[in-house]
Structure formats: structure tokens, C-alpha cells
């Protein structure tokens, strides 16, 4: 394990987890505000336990897959996933699609829980718990993929998991203190950064899997990341100009 692989892997897991945990926290907070902390807590705990089970099951299983095939498969998935995030973040930065709004999400989720309560008088705590569980599970799935993708086959599963866990603890601690949606977190900037890193990993591992020996080995990752960063920024700037022309 070298720092040039480990540092971006752990950083990608940490930053991606911050983005997703902030989104999940907004929904869990809506549940807690309307139905109390008990269903919110059990839903969150159950969701986290399911996500941990997926990592614990899939991680060692993937270690048994031949490294060559694993790198191609994970490289392709990382490239698709990373470029998807980078594309969306570029479009958001250009103002083409709206930025993620935690306050609006909180209001929408609260409203939906209210409507559920009016329709169904029984099992409100159960419904609230399931809502929290679903939020944690759906938002956490992307983090689990990133942790497994950057960690498996490189012996980085534990460091990447710890990076994601640190983000969880940080968001929950800040959330517990401020007790409102974390709308000031620069989600799009974080998504942009994670998209850059994952796209760079994707090209690197897909190439290695196809038999390409990158010059400079792991250091090539930094060059790839710089190129994707430049492409994202150029794309965003051109998209903004296009938008102004059409307006």
C-alpha cells in the first residue's frame, strides 16, 4: 500500500460519506422532529447495520476474485459512477440543474410524514423508523460501493471504511449540536471532488486491468485527477456560457 493510492482512497470514502450522510441526516432529523428520537435511532441503527453487513460480506468475497478481473470490473464501475457524479456536479455548478437543498428536502420529508400520519393513525413509529432506515440504506449504498471499490483488492477496505465511518461520526456530531438540516455543507463541491477522484481511479484500474502499465505507476493517478478536474471545470464554464446564450 502506498500513500499515493491510500490517501485518495480514504479521502474519497470520507468526502463521499459526508455528502451522503448529510442527505440521510436531513431525513432522519425530519423523522425525529415529528415522531421522536426513538424510531429515528432504531431506523438509523438498522440501516447502518445492514450497510456494515454488506461491506463485511462483499469485501472478503471480492478478495477471492482474481485481481486482474476485479480491477477491470471495479475500474469500469468506478469510471461510470465517478463520471456520473462529475457530470452532475458540473451541471449544478453551471446552474443548469438546481443545487441540492437540504432545507427543502427537510420540509418535503416532514410534509410527507405528516400526510402519512393523517392517512394511517396506527404504527406511526414503525413507519417513521422505516423511513429513517430507508434513508440511511439508500444514501449509504453509494458510500458502501465507494468503500468496496477503492478498498477491495488493494488491502484498503479497513482504511476506506474508517474514512467513511469518521465522516458519519463527524456529521452526526455536528447535526446533534446544531439540530437542523446541514444546509451549509458545500455538497456540490464535495461531489465534484469525489467525482474527480473516482473517475481517476476508474481510468487507472480499468487501464491496469487491460494490461496498461501507467508511467509513474500510482503517481499517474494525480495526473488523471488533474485532467478530470480541468475537464469538469471547463465543461461547467462552457455550460454556463451556453445557458446564458439560450437565456
Amino acid at each position: 500500500m502506498t500513500w499515493s493510492i491510500a490517501a485518495p482512497a480514504v479521502t474519497a470514502a470520507f468526502l463521499a460519506a459526508i455528502v451522503e450522510v448529510v442527505e440521510a441526516f436531513t431525513i432522519v432529523l425530519a423523522v425525529a422532529t415529528l415522531r421522536g428520537w426513538r424510531p429515528a435511532a432504531w431506523g438509523t441503527t438498522a440501516g447502518l447495520a445492514l450497510l456494515a453487513a454488506i461491506v463485511l460480506l462483499l469485501g472478503p468475497l471480492l478478495d477471492r476474485v482474481p485481481i486482474h478481473s476485479l480491477r477491470v470490473a471495479i475500474g469500469i464501475l468506478l469510471l461510470l459512477f465517478g463520471m456520473g457524479w462529475l457530470r452532475k456536479a458540473s451541471l449544478r455548478a453551471a446552474g443548469i440543474i438546481p443545487l441540492h437543498d437540504e432545507d427543502a428536502l427537510f420540509a418535503a420529508e416532514t410534509d410527507q410524514l405528516d400526510q402519512q400520519a393523517q392517512r394511517q393513525q396506527r404504527n406511526l413509529h414503525w413507519l417513521a423508523g422505516i423511513t429513517a432506515l430507508k434513508a440511511v440504506l439508500l444514501e449509504g449504498l453509494e458510500v458502501v460501493f465507494i468503500v468496496i471499490a477503492v478498498g477491495a483488492g488493494r488491502g484498503l477496505l479497513i482504511p476506506a471504511s474508517l474514512g467513511a465511518l469518521a465522516a458519519c461520526v463527524l456529521v452526526l456530531a455536528v447535526g446533534a449540536i446544531v439540530h437542523r438540516p446541514l444546509s451549509r455543507v458545500p455538497e456540490n463541491t464535495l461531489k465534484f471532488g469525489v467525482g474527480v477522484m473516482l473517475s481517476a481511479f476508474g481510468v487507472f484500474w480499468t487501464g491496469e486491468g487491460l494490461g496498461i502499465a501507467w508511467p509513474g505507476q500510482d503517481i499517474a493517478l494525480l495526473f488523471f485527477a488533474a485532467l478530470f478536474l480541468a475537464a469538469g471545470l471547463i465543461g461547467s464554464s462552457l455550460a454556463r456560457k451556453l445557458r446564458m446564450e439560450f437565456a
Binding site: 469500469i76 464501475l77 469510471l79 461510470l80 459512477f81 463520471m83 456520473g84 457524479w85 462529475l86 457530470r87 452532475k88 458540473s90 451541471l91 453551471a94 443548469i96 440543474i97 422505516i130 430507508k134 440504506l137 439508500l138 449504498l141 453509494e142 460501493f145 473517475s199 476508474g202 481510468v203 480499468t206 487501464g207 487491460l210 494490461g211 496498461i212 502499465a213 501507467w214 508511467p215 488523471f224 485532467l227 478530470f228 475537464a231 469538469g232 471547463i234 465543461g235 461547467s236 462552457l238 455550460a239 454556463r240 451556453l242 445557458r243 439560450f246
Partner: protein, 71 residues
């Protein structure tokens, strides 16, 4: 059951955010793999095609999104 469907949709959506971008990236990977494996292209040249192709596809996809934000 509904939650399973949502999970499946989330999983698919993770990798197929924009269909045309996904297909283009897969096509470029297949092209590079074929060129390196069957035609005997220098792997480094293949790597350059993969890297520059991906970056170009990204910019093209962002611009396409800007022209038609619904995509």
C-alpha cells in the same frame, strides 16, 4: 418489496446516470481492450485513448446536458 425495488433502482442509477454517457464510456473501454488485445496496439497508446476519450466524453456530456437540461 417496494424498498427492494427502490434499492434496485438506486443501484442501477448509480452507474447509468445518463444512458448515452454510459454507453459511450463502455464503447471506448471495449475499443481500447480490442485494440490492445487483438490489433497489438501499444498499451500506452491504448491508455491515452482511454484517458483522453473519457475526458472528452465528460465535457461533451456536460454540454449536451446544458443544451437540454432534462437529460
Amino acid at each position: 418489496m417496494r424498498m427492494l425495488k427502490e434499492l434496485a433502482a438506486e443501484l442501477v442509477g448509480m452507474f447509468v446516470g445518463e444512458t448515452r454517457l454510459t454507453i459511450s464510456v463502455l464503447a471506448i473501454i471495449a475499443l481500447v481492450g480490442s485494440l490492445v488485445d487483438f490489433i497489438g496496439l501499444d498499451p500506452l497508446l491504448g491508455g491515452a485513448v482511454l484517458l483522453l476519450g473519457s475526458v472528452t466524453l465528460l465535457v461533451e456530456s456536460v454540454l449536451r446536458g446544458a443544451r437540454s437540461p432534462g437529460l
